[in-house]
């Protein structure tokens, strides 16, 4: 092997398939690796995006076209009738309103509770703080499917003894959703706060800031990316939650979007697929829009659990 060939091979190996392209002339291996990468990426994009795209296609179809059993992958007679029907239906608008109220309240509660707790846990060592941090993480691992039955019974008992009606009221969700959001948000905020140099709060302390001022004037602004990531997480979780509302709410004026779509748009055996897909798409829109605009924060929040802490 000549010296140049060795060099060529070396460069290729070193670059491997992981290197960004820097040279005009790529080796053949490299080109082939790139081709297959794109090939499989396209296949997976098709697999991953088919359901949402099919949702969109169906949402533009009239019931007659759906029943006509023509090519399902094409819209021959596009119409916005489904959107119009849903967005003028007071029932559906109630779902949207309920979802929005629940999510906004849950996000606010979550962020206040978890930012305060994360600040205390990351900066003020106190008796049991390490155990508490571990406990919070474990709570995040407890799925809602383990708790919905005892919670259901608990709320019934509360009603019995105090007369406070929780079941079948949308606000019961504001009460229970934080159990899904707070542990993880606290956990990632601990990670973000821990990455703030200790000297920064000492400087604030010397500057005369109280603990709460240190939190509001230093920690929250500095950890803003983490706050955004945690907020997105809390929102997507509370927006998408399905089991709790399905178990705890039944009257159609108390339902949130996902449950409302599944329970009211599917009436017995009658599936109005155009409207169902439109509803599903509308319900999927807020998280998708947030994702589209704040992708980096969204992903940071997603990976924070394992890469921080």
């Amino acid at each position: 092997m000549t010296a140049t060939a060795t060099f060529e091979k070396d460069r290729r190996d070193r670059g491997g398939p992981t290197r960004p392209v820097r040279h005009g002339s790529m080796s053949r291996d490299r080109k082939r690796a790139l081709f297959w990468s794109y090939f499989f990426l396209i296949l997976f994009v098709i697999f991953f995006l088919t359901p949402p795209i099919y949702m969109f296609i169906t949402s533009l179809k009239s019931s007659t076209e759906i029943a006509g059993a023509t090519n399902p992958w094409w819209v021959f007679d596009p119409t916005l009738a489904n959107y119009e029907a849903l967005l003028t239906s007071s029932e559906f608008l109630t779902f949207i309103l309920n979802s929005a109220m629940v999510s906004v309240l849950v996000v606010s509660i979550t962020m206040v509770v978890s930012v305060m707790a994360a600040f205390a846990l990351s900066r003020m060592r106190f008796w049991g703080s390490a155990t508490l941090a571990t406990g919070i993480f474990l709570c995040y691992l407890i799925p809602e499917t383990l708790l919905f039955i005892p919670l259901f019974k608990m709320f019934a008992v509360v009603n019995e003894f105090t007369g406070i009606q929780l079941l079948n009221k949308w606000y019961v969700l504001v009460l229970v959703y934080p159990t899904l959001t707070v542990p993880f948000c606290t956990w990632i905020m601990i990670g973000y706060f821990a990455s703030i140099p200790k000297e920064l709060d000492e400087a604030a302390l010397i500057d005369g800031a109280t603990y709460l001022q240190t939190l509001t004037k230093i920690f929250i602004p500095v950890a803003l990316p983490g706050i955004i990531a945690a907020t997105i997480f809390a929102f997507t979780v509370s927006w998408a939650q399905f089991l709790y509302p399905l178990a705890f709410t039944t009257s159609s004026d108390q339902l949130v979007l996902p449950v409302g779509i599944v329970t009211t748009l599917i009436k017995g055996d009658v599936y109005n697929w155009g409207q169902i897909m439109t509803g599903a798409l509308i319900a999927a829109a807020p998280p998708l829009v947030i994702y589209a605009f704040l992708m980096d924060y969204y992903i940071a929040g997603l990976t924070a659990g394992a890469t921080k802490g």
Partner: protein, 366 residues
């Protein structure tokens, strides 16, 4: 009136002692540098003065008040941190004024004080920038500005220059000295760099293993170190140490090294050293600048000896030579023109007028 007094100050971290009872008086307007190797307790001491660490035992007095239980903000101190600790989301102006704003100082006064501090530090153009847009040296200035603005009784510096590159460090060192001359505030400065300590301090406090080894002016420490630790810590390259014996022969003393080299003790020190004659547990100390090439007019108490050089390091204005002397590595500083060459023999001259004799057990300079 802003003296700082430490009285028998002790700090333990879960039973591990970090500071083991130190006494220190810092005069008003004085610039004191705490210096020592990492883990010697110098930063802990500074942080106790700042109020960032609780005091296990003893008393700290600032400006006449015992401040043991006073929170940092009420101690009227300002601190400059190693990594600057600038608030990344605030502009330079906001950084410098944060403390004043928390104290609800009137806006006009804040602006005036920030601007005057900025003028002292020559950062008036940077007031609207964020820390991210600043260079290391500029950040350092802002951190100092934040301290100056508060017009405190005491400035505390915690290794403020160690994050800067060598050239900038020298420049900022001068800058800090100038600022101190302008604002004349009592200053406690912590560093592990003895050059920084020597150049900046009115008085240097050398610490080791949680205790103060010696307090003195830079020159006192250099020329009259009280312990082997101080002798070895101050000065670069460090002082040479060779274990030795002291022998008396016909009224004169001489140093006897284990390998047979002998050096006469200057006559004026005979009285001082006499009672150690015969003791085997002694260490002979001589700074590298007192191990030179031979020259024509050899003065009294200068003793020539021959060695084989192991390593030579040309520094430009001088050449450092390293060699073995009776089992110890010794460094000398010779004229570049003296023809020092690694592996070659060379005759060197030891200037015993500057020798030190150290008790091997107690580590005290005799």
């Amino acid at each position: 009136m802003s003296q700082v007094t430490l009285h028998k100050v002790v700090k333990n971290y879960d039973e591990t002692p970090a500071v083991r009872g130190i006494d220190l008086d810092i005069a008003d307007k004085e610039f004191v540098v705490l210096v020592g190797p990492s883990g010697c307790g110098k930063s802990t001491t500074l942080r106790m003065i700042a109020g960032l660490e609780d005091i296990t035992d003893g008393e700290i007095v600032i400006g006449g008040d015992v401040v043991n239980d006073v929170p940092p903000k009420d101690r009227d101190i300002a601190m400059v941190f190693q990594n600057y600790a600038l608030y990344p989301h605030m502009t330079v102006f906001e950084n410098m004024s944060f403390g004043l704003r928390l104290k609800r100082v009137p806006k006009d006064e804040i602006r005036q004080r920030v601007e005057s501090a900025a003028r002292i530090l020559d950062i008036s153009e940077l007031l609207d920038r964020k820390p991210k847009q600043l260079s290391g040296g500029q950040r350092q200035r802002v951190a100092m500005g934040r301290a100056i603005v508060r017009d405190p009784k005491v400035f505390l510096f915690d290794e403020p220059l160690s994050n800067l590159d060598a050239k900038l460090r020298v420049q900022m060192r001068t800058e800090i000295k100038k600022v101190h001359q302008k604002v004349r505030t009592t200053t406690v400065y912590v560093t592990h760099d003895q050059v920084e300590a020597m150049t900046l301090a009115d008085r240097v406090v050398v610490m080791n293993a949680g205790l103060i080894e010696q307090v003195g002016t830079p020159n006192e420490l250099y020329h009259h170190p009280r312990t082997r630790f101080v002798a070895g810590f101050i000065g670069s390259p460090a002082m040479n140490f060779v274990p030795c014996r002291l022998e008396e022969a016909s009224g004169a003393l001489r140093i006897l090294l284990p390998g047979g080299h002998a050096f006469p003790v200057p006559a004026e020190r005979t009285e001082r050293y006499r009672r150690h004659a015969g003791s085997a547990d002694l260490v002979f100390g001589l700074r590298p600048e007192h191990v030179t090439e031979t020259h024509r007019n050899v003065e009294p108490n200068q003793e020539a000896f021959e060695v084989t050089l192991e390593v030579t390091e040309p520094m430009g204005m001088e050449t450092l030579v390293y060699f073995q002397l009776d089992g110890a590595e010794v460094c000398g500083r010779v004229n570049p023109a003296a023809g020092a060459e690694a592996g070659q023999p060379m005759t060197l001259l030891a200037d015993l007028n500057h020798m030190h004799l150290i008790d091997g057990t107690s580590g005290l300079v005799l």
